[in-house]
Amino acid sequence: MSTSVLQVRDLKVTFATPLGPLVAVRGVDLDVSAGEMTAVVGESGSGKSVSFLAAMGLLPKSATIEGSVVLDGHQLVGASPKLMRSVRGRLMSMIFQDPLSALNPVHRIGAQIAEMLRAHQTMSERAARARAVELLEIVGIPQPGDRALQYPHEFSGGMRQRVVIAMAIANSPKLLIADEPTTALDVTVQAQILEVIQKVQAQFGTAVVLITHDLGVVARVCERVNVMYAGRVVERAAIHDIFDAPTHPYTRGLLASLPQAGVERLVPIAGFPPNMLRPPSGCAFRTRCAHAIDACGAGVPELRPQGESMTACIRSGELTVSA
């Protein structure tokens, strides 16, 4: 078994809102091994981003975080600000969905990357700038020496995301969290960015968590997939098992709803995503599940093994597996 870079156990995140406490993450278990690319898939509101923002310690003060997040041996939940600062950008980095707003508009990008380097390594400004240019080259920015002196608004969307990636891997972190990195980009650019991420992964040995709602993206590059629904992981499997033999009704619903050539009518999942202020008791998916029985409302199902995968459906054994 390869070394585990990130272990998340029973992670809970509660937000204090004017309408009452909102539990966005209701007990997430997750493992990421060194050098592998894991996907976390789910709809908006499933808690996928919040889980990792919590791990990074980037949530506002109104959020309460419970459970355990161990990164390379460090416990991140309840860690001191000093520890978090030393971990962020060095052991673990995060890239976000919109690269334009993620970059500071008034600083040159070379300087922004250099800042990342000098935050965790002792380097002169000049050495950091030089290294920044190298990093730009790695992520495929042409004329990196000139472009390092430019400002974010002078780059196109895809280029900007490359810059963000360069910044994130500047200190060779063990883990890179990519939160919907391709959602804001054109389809052709999406493929390029995924390639960049793969290249960087190979070159630096970084484990990558790819957070997305797009199964197509997942199929290209990931080895393992965690499916999240209503603040919990409901299925965890290897990439082939997810597509060939999904064990949770939600995953099956997701796959069935993908547009397919030759199929005329789209098949959506019935019902609506749950309101996280008052989630359903028991299995949160039961309000939309064709196979729900009374027992589904009894208690929140835990992940159990089902073949090669882990699933949180109490009826997974009985339900026929469809391709």
């Binding site: 980037l58 962020r88 950008g89 976000f96 970059l103 008034v106 800042e115």
Partner: protein, 324 residues
């Protein structure tokens, strides 16, 4: 960047002419210079009146008159005041110096403390100190300067001397009456109250600007990115937060400072401070065209200059603007 500045300058010059022309028209219509002259000098001969009209460019044709005035102005051949034919520049110079001193002191103090308070409040939004600062700033901008001036005068001039026998801070003039020569301590003592009055307003306004701008910036995505880099919180605040938050504030400050030369009229009046305000009021009241026009030119030039400066500083601070 240089092209940007040159283009703005190119705009500023014709604007200067246009605005002074409009001012010229407004003053001619509003203060009726010829009548004012006749009123102050009832025994002036028709020849003298005509001379006055010529020197001041008061031809019946506004455009021709303006150019005549402009030529005289630019060649420094300034007509004298209608009262006693006094030279304009010495009076104007003193008034300008006094007001600049007052304005500069109040601006520096006000903007500095205002910005600090704004940052102080924005760091814990909604908390007690934020509410405190916000409310205080609010009260500050709701009290017109002359109300605070009057109340301060009441306090320091009337009651202080009643209770303590002597005045702590003088409430009028640059120096005590009859004083000659330069005395820094006395001058400072006389400046305390007027500067306080002006500074209160400035602090209140800038505290709120800074607070709101900083709050805006603090909730931006790039702040989250900056934090995710693991740099110190102080660096996040200064290099990322403040650097961006200052952009709109600096721009506004540049514009404000530009209008301060003529913006202290009330405060100067209440504290009998012989500055540009007093100069304006007395010359405006008399309809003294030769005194008024140079005053106006200084105001207009100051406003346009600082407008330009505001534009330039905005472009310098925010690279997104430069490429326009």
């Amino acid at each position: 960047m240089l092209r940007f500045v040159i283009r703005r300058l190119a705009w500023a010059v014709p604007t200067l002419f246009l605005v002074t022309f409009l001012v010229y028209i407004a003053l001619r219509i509003g203060t009726n210079p010829v009548e004012s002259y006749k009123r102050i000098n009832p025994r002036a001969t028709p020849a003298k009146i005509q001379q006055y009209i010529d020197k001041n460019g008061l031809d019946p044709n506004y455009v021709r008159g303006y150019f005549r005035w402009l030529v005289n102005f630019v060649t420094l051949d300034w007509p004298r005041s209608i009262k006693g034919s006094r030279e304009v520049w010495p009076q104007l110079k003193d008034a300008l110096a006094n007001t600049l001193r007052l304005g500069a002191a109040a601006s520096v103090v006000g903007i500095f403390f205002g910005l600090m308070l704004g940052v102080y409040a924005a760091l814990r939004p909604g908390g007690r100190r934020d509410v405190g600062v916000n409310t205080a700033a609010f009260v500050g901008i709701s009290i017109p300067p002359y109300v605070s001036a009057i109340l301060l005068q009441l306090l320091f001039a009337v009651y202080w001397s009643r209770w303590f026998g002597s005045t702590l801070f003088p409430t009028s003039g640059v120096y005590p009456p009859g004083h000659t020569g330069f005395n820094l301590l006395l001058m400072l003592k006389h400046m305390v109250l007027p500067v306080t009055v002006v500074a209160i307003q400035i602090i209140a306004v800038y505290a709120r600007y800074m607070r709101s701008s900083l709050l805006d910036v603090l909730s931006s995505e790039y702040m989250r990115t900056a934090r995710s880099k693991g740099i110190s919180e102080r660096r996040v605040l200064f290099k990322h937060g403040l650097r961006n938050a200052l952009i709109p504030v600096v721009t506004i400050a540049a514009l404000d400072v530009g209008s301060i030369v003529g913006g202290l009229i009330i405060t100067e009046n209440i504290f009998s401070y012989p500055g540009m305000g007093k100069y304006f009021l007395s010359s405006f009241g008399e309809g003294d065209f030769p005194l008024l026009m140079p005053w106006m030119v200084i105001i207009v030039a100051s406003v346009l200059l600082f407008n330009l400066l505001a534009d330039v500083s905005y472009a310098w601070l925010d690279p997104r603007i430069r490429l326009e």
